[in-house]
């Protein structure tokens, strides 16, 4: 039996539709792959850092001028961050006085970039021969860049790391969690399970949905106006940033929690009410445990979003040069995405790979958070 032309047309439409869908997916995948290859390709060199072996002469003049410790031809090849510590080192170890030691020093970022073969390394022509020779002689070597994970931001590119920003991000995130999760979940439970359905609650609902769509920079202005100007929270502090991001995350958490509560079958509430449970007991004993995975997932995704947010923090002054990890939530701090932004606008070549490495660290954290959300949802999901 042959197919009617009409049926053939319907099958052709099916095939076309599948093809369009597939094209869209391939297109999106291409972008994703390009993005990851580019970022990872740029970031990987940042995890290696050049170290250079130089003779260091400890004498009286070093205490006043650390440049004198190193012969002139090597002086520009060594990181200033190494030279700066020499005076202190001499005070701590007086026995070194008037000796000359061969020491491994952190190399200047120009040396590092030159040997990595990056354009725009900025190493002067007169040093290039020396550096190449030293590299061949094994007097310059590449080591794992621990500084990147143990130090804060620095004007010396070779010395700059993400620790301060990471600590800032953790503090901000903890404050955001502490503020937005309880308030958001409670609000959602009240609206969904207790509040009467009238104009007032409907107005609240519409407004919450709108708040979720507001440009995040406006939350920054709100945070500036309320937390910094009115409440006197210190500028640039993790507290100011955390509270601001909490405001921004609230609607997301409220909406996802309400969706999770709504997905609990009405029959369970009926059953519990029918047995004489009070409203609170119905919620705590039956509805919340069933909605828990959904609430958790929504909260984690909202918090991951907050963690990647930069615009509102710009307004509360967290886009700052922070060389040391903040000691408390009142100290000036910055966060990972802000650090990435700061580095990306630097002109020195070595910051480019640090920008990429910073993005990689941020992405790793965000992907782990999302993986955690998926894992927890699977783990606590109740099977019927």
């Amino acid at each position: 039996m042959s197919l009617s032309p009409q049926l053939k047309r319907r099958y052709r439409a099916d095939k076309r539709f599948k093809f369009y869908g597939l094209t869209a997916i391939v297109f999106a995948l291409c972008f994703l792959i390009f993005f990851f290859v580019d970022i990872i390709g740029k970031a990987v060199p940042a995890f290696e850092q050049a170290y250079i072996q130089v003779p260091v002469s400890y004498n009286q003049s070093v205490i006043h001028n650390y440049n004198r410790a190193i012969p002139k031809e090597y002086r520009r090849l060594v990181s200033k961050s190494f030279l700066r510590t020499l005076g202190q080192k001499l005070e701590a170890h007086p026995e070194l006085m008037n000796t000359t030691q061969e020491e491994w020093a952190l190399a200047n970022h120009r040396v590092d970039q030159f040997l990595k073969g990056h354009e725009g390394h900025g190493l002067k022509k007169k040093y290039r021969k020396t550096v190449e020779q030293m590299y061949q002689d094994g007097k310059i070597e590449f080591r794992f860049n621990t500084n990147f994970f143990t130090r804060g931001d620095s004007k010396m590119a070779e010395n700059a790391g993400v620790l301060a920003a990471a600590m800032g991000s953790i503090m901000v995130l903890l404050i955001t969690i502490a503020v937005s999760v309880p308030i958001g979940v409670m609000t959602a439970i009240y609206l969904e399970e207790f509040a009467p359905d009238n104009r007032f609650t409907q107005a609240i609902e519409v407004n919450i949905n709108n708040l979720a769509a507001i440009p995040s920079i406006l939350y920054g202005l709100l945070g500036l106006a309320i937390f910094i100007n009115v409440m006197g929270v210190p500028r640039s502090s993790a507290l100011a940033g955390g509270l601001t991001l909490a405001l921004m995350t609230l609607p997301v958490i409220i909406i996802s929690t309400r969706a999770a509560l709504r997905s609990v079958p009405q029959s369970i509430r009926d059953a519990a009410f029918g047995l004489g449970a009070s409203s609170l007991q119905v919620v705590i004993h039956h509805v919340l445990p069933l909605a828990f995975p959904g609430i958790l997932t929504g909260s984690i995704i909202g918090l991951a979003q907050a963690m990647g947010e930069t615009a509102p923090l710009l307004i509360v002054g967290m886009m700052a040069y922070i060389p040391d990890a903040p000691g408390s939530i009142f100290d000036a701090a910055t966060v990972l995405p802000a650090q990435v932004y700061t580095w990306s606008s630097e002109s020195i070549r070595a910051f480019e790979e640090r920008t990429a490495a910073g993005i990689l660290v941020l992405l790793t954290v965000l992907l782990s958070l999302n993986a955690l959300a998926v894992y927890l949802r699977k783990k606590f999901e109740v099977r019927w």
Binding site: G274, L275, G276
Partner: protein, 252 residues
């Protein structure tokens, strides 16, 4: 007729502006099974839900008239709804065990009402499950999830859960409509046993079921009680033309 367990008089109910029940007068006898029948939307489920105030939570629902349980108005301000529901239990159309173990399903309500201490728990669970004639099927898997049981077993578990609170009245809202004939037969048998201890009021769409298990039957149509009487009489010699039309399948 002996003194009624529940006496409904001139009960009117509105959902918003829509009057759903137009002044119902009916008495439910103690330790008897009363079936409420009638076409969909006739108000029988609504009436059932009035008897343990499940309509309280519905926005815009308004009630007039009185529902007396042992002579006391359950809508009176001094009656606590939580307490009322320990006297009037309810079994729903779709089996709805909690997604917890069988044991926890049974013990939940007695625990929140403080009816049982640690020692008495096992005994109470066994008694409730035995009364719901499901003990033999589940005694070896009390700590497995109640949701893993078959539909009929789930419904009997729900009945066991209801009688664990030791109510006087059990309301059943089409308890067999989601079940196959064999599971239905078991529930009907169970209802027959339960009426020794409980007053049972059930809504059903199944005329044969009403005829088989109930002592009294009330026929509703468009929010009015058309006819109420002993089941055998109502089915053999209906007084009203509408009742006769309905039970013989001419409409509805």
């Amino acid at each position: 007729m002996s003194k009624p367990k529940i006496s409904v008089s001139d009960l009117k109910l509105w959902y918003g502006d829509h009057e759903t029940l137009h002044g119902i007068d009916v008495d439910f006898e103690a330790k008897k099974v009363t079936a409420l029948i009638g076409p969909s939307g006739c108000g029988k489920s609504t009436l059932l839900r009035c008897l343990n105030r499940m309509n309280d939570r519905i926005v815009g629902c308004r009630i007039e008239g009185s529902v007396l349980l042992d002579g006391k108005d359950i809508n009176a301000p001094d009656v606590d709804v939580v307490q009322l529901r320990t006297h009037v239990g309810m079994v729903f159309q779709k089996p709805n065990p909690f997604p917890k173990s069988i044991y926890e399903n049974i013990i939940y309500a007695p625990q929140i009402h403080g009816m049982v201490d640690k020692q008495g728990m096992d005994e109470l669970v066994e008694t409730a499950l035995r009364k719901a004639s499901i003990w033999d099927e589940v005694k070896d898997k009390l700590h497995e999830p109640g949701t893993a049981l078959s539909g009929g077993q789930q419904q009997r578990l729900c009945i066991a859960r209801t009688i664990a609170v030791k109510p006087d009245v059990i309301l059943m809202d089409e308890p067999c409509s989601a079940l196959d004939p064999i599971a239905t037969a078991k529930i009907e048998e169970l209802i027959d046993e339960l009426k020794q201890d409980f007053t049972i009021i059930m809504v059903t769409h199944n005329m044969q079921q009403a005829a088989r298990v109930s002592d009294n039957t009330a026929f509703f149509y468009m929010g009015n009680l058309i006819e109420f009487g002993e089941t055998s009489t109502l089915f053999s010699q209906p007084q009203q033309q509408q009742t006769e039309d309905y039970i013989t399948g001419r409409f509805g």
